[in-house]
């Protein structure tokens, strides 16, 4: 077996063992943290497909997340659709939206694409605010509490649901990485003009990456909405939902399968430590971390290992 498939196997085994251990041993606080890791990992993987593999700096993750959350919320509260149908439906809506968005803005490159993708969440937030009849507007939206067995049952259920989203995102990324689409995205990232000249339909490949990104982020938003049972536009269209996944992917290494997962873990650990110890200035320190990361570790934590190997 190749080194890559060993790494994959170890990742799967570690994930399964970790999940089992947490379900058996952890208290609700640890489970909540683990659920957040799952959510962060899924979002970082979603961004990584567009931002990492294709090299298109997307800030649309929050838009897909919020759209997924609201679609799932409205379907469950207004139409009383059960969650096993509402979640996939929300993911599909976000994916379709991402595909359409891709057609509109993926011909832009670099900064222009970044800015165009950044405003999408703002537009959706305002639309959600205005469409009071359906979304509840600024008042927010309450979701039905799922009957999955008290507080402890809830914690376990959402830990598993987010874990499943992360696993799904990992699977999609792995499948992309080793196949035709991954090759296409890597070509686009390294030289888009040359990619077109060798006969690659770059528009289709980029749109496919953005659609997968929308699918994952939208599904994650749907699970999140049920988890917190109350969503409002400022919460689910928060720009931090676009920025944090980028940091995680940068931290772990962009354009890889494992990078965003490792990055999500590292990021949450940092966030918890900072939040606990420097409550007033934790956002400032997070900002400082970003600066240091971009300046000294543009290739992520992997570079440390490589440097250690080169030095020793």
């Amino acid at each position: 077996m190749s080194r890559k498939s060993w790494q994959g196997l170890i990742l799967v085994a570690a994930g399964a063992a970790g999940t089992a251990a947490l379900l058996g041993l952890a208290d609700n606080y640890v489970l909540r943290l683990a659920t957040t890791v799952g959510m962060y990992a899924a979002l970082a993987l979603a961004w990584n497909l567009v931002g990492g593999y294709a090299g298109y700096p997307s800030f649309a993750t929050a838009a897909f997340f919020g759209l997924g959350a609201y679609t799932a919320g409205v379907l469950q509260s207004a139409v009383s659709l059960p969650f096993p149908l509402a979640w996939p439906a929300a993911a599909a809506v976000a994916a379709a939206f991402a595909a359409a968005l891709g057609g509109a803005i993926l011909h832009l490159r670099g900064h222009y694409f970044a800015i165009a993708s950044l405003v999408v969440a703002d537009v959706l937030r305002e639309l959600t605010n205005m469409w009071t009849d359906v979304t509840g507007g600024g008042m927010g939206l309450n979701l039905p509490l799922l009957d999955v067995g008290g507080v402890a049952g809830q914690a376990r259920f959402y830990f598993l649901a987010m874990g499943l989203m992360a696993a799904l995102a990992t699977l999609l990324t792995w499948w992309t990485d080793r196949g035709r689409l991954g090759m296409a995205l890597r070509c686009i990232e390294q030289n888009e003009n040359a990619a077109q000249v060798i006969g690659l339909d770059t528009r289709r490949a980029k749109a496919a990456a953005l659609t997968l990104s929308g699918l994952i982020a939208g599904g994650t938003g749907a699970v999140y909405a049920s988890w917190v049972t109350y969503i409002d536009p400022t919460d689910v269209y928060d720009v931090l939902l676009s920025v944090k996944p980028i940091l995680m992917a940068l931290l772990g290494g962009v354009g890889t399968v494992a990078g965003p997962i490792v990055g999500a873990l590292a990021f949450l650990a940092l966030e918890e430590v900072l939040w606990r110890n420097v409550l007033e200035f934790h956002a400032g320190l997070l900002g400082l971390l970003v600066v240091l990361l971009v300046l000294f570790l543009p290739d992520g934590l992997r570079a440390l290992r490589r440097r250690a190997a080169a030095g020793g």
């Binding site: 035709r180 030289n191 040359a194 990619a195 077109q196 060798i198 006969g199 690659l200 339909d201």
Partner: protein
């Protein structure tokens, strides 16, 4: 032999500059056509008009009887028109093998990545790059990168290949090797359009030479006839070249 590519009245304007002013030209199956002309004559624009990089402002381009001047570059590439760039365009952080495999995958008819890699290995062997397949493309020398450009184009299994200054910047030994490679490529039945500044290469390799000057096609004929054409001498070759060539041609 049948016509492969046909330019009919192709013009291309960039703002106030007419880079191509109504070009009529046919490329036939299996031939090597040299395109010469001074800097800014419109040679690269001609390639760009045929490969979908620039849409002609007027006129039409047909490939195997099908109009292609409204198609995107990737569509034209998949039809069987490949090109190399004057300034090489590798995927720098991908290995030499992956560079060529990508071309085989998206235009060379490979059904899977492993099949694409097999096809890429064949092409690399043909181009003499097989020992460097694991290197990142950025690690190759200029001559190596030019070879890689050619390997990428060949992996697309084209019917027609534009070579835009593949010999520029090469030393004489590298140039001889490149020339042999171009001939071997043509022997596979691929028509070649050779954009070139080096007269020695064009004269040795081409079956036919066309001359561009200020966006116009001023001559089209056999190499020996071209170098004696007064219009070509005046526009491009200069009298000294004509004299030297003349003394060699007529003993």
């Amino acid at each position: 032999m049948g016509t492969l590519l046909r330019f009919a009245g192709v013009a291309r304007r960039f703002g106030g500059i007419l880079a191509l002013a109504g070009i009529d030209l046919e490329i036939r199956q299996g031939e090597i056509v040299g395109v010469i002309g001074p800097n800014g004559a419109g040679k690269t624009t001609l390639v760009n008009a045929a490969t979908g990089v620039h849409r002609p402002t007027a006129g039409e381009v047909h490939f195997e009887g099908r109009r292609i001047d409204r198609l995107r570059p990737d569509q034209i590439a998949r039809l069987g028109v490949a090109r190399t760039f004057q300034i090489v365009q590798p995927f720098p952080r991908m290995s030499v093998l992956e560079n060529v495999a990508a071309a085989a995958l998206f235009s060379g008819g490979a059904r899977s990545l492993s099949q694409a890699r097999d096809q890429a290995r064949e092409t690399l062997a043909f181009c003499g790059l097989q020992e460097r397949e694991a290197l990142p493309a950025a690690a190759l020398s200029l001559a190596g990168r030019k070879r890689l450009e050619l390997a990428k184009s060949l992996a697309m299994r084209p019917r027609l290949l534009f070579l835009d200054e593949v010999n520029a910047g090469l030393n004489p030994a590298e140039m001889d090797a490149a020339l042999a490679l171009i001939r071997a490529t043509a022997a596979r039945g691929i028509a070649i359009v050779l954009i070139e500044h080096l007269m020695k290469v064009v004269m040795q390799a081409s079956h036919r030479i066309v001359v561009l000057h200020q966006g116009r096609l001023i001559a089209d004929g056999a190499p020996d006839a071209i170098v004696r054409d007064p219009a070509v001498i005046q526009a491009y070759l200069g009298n000294r070249y004509a004299q030297r060539h003349g003394t060699q041609a007529t003993p």
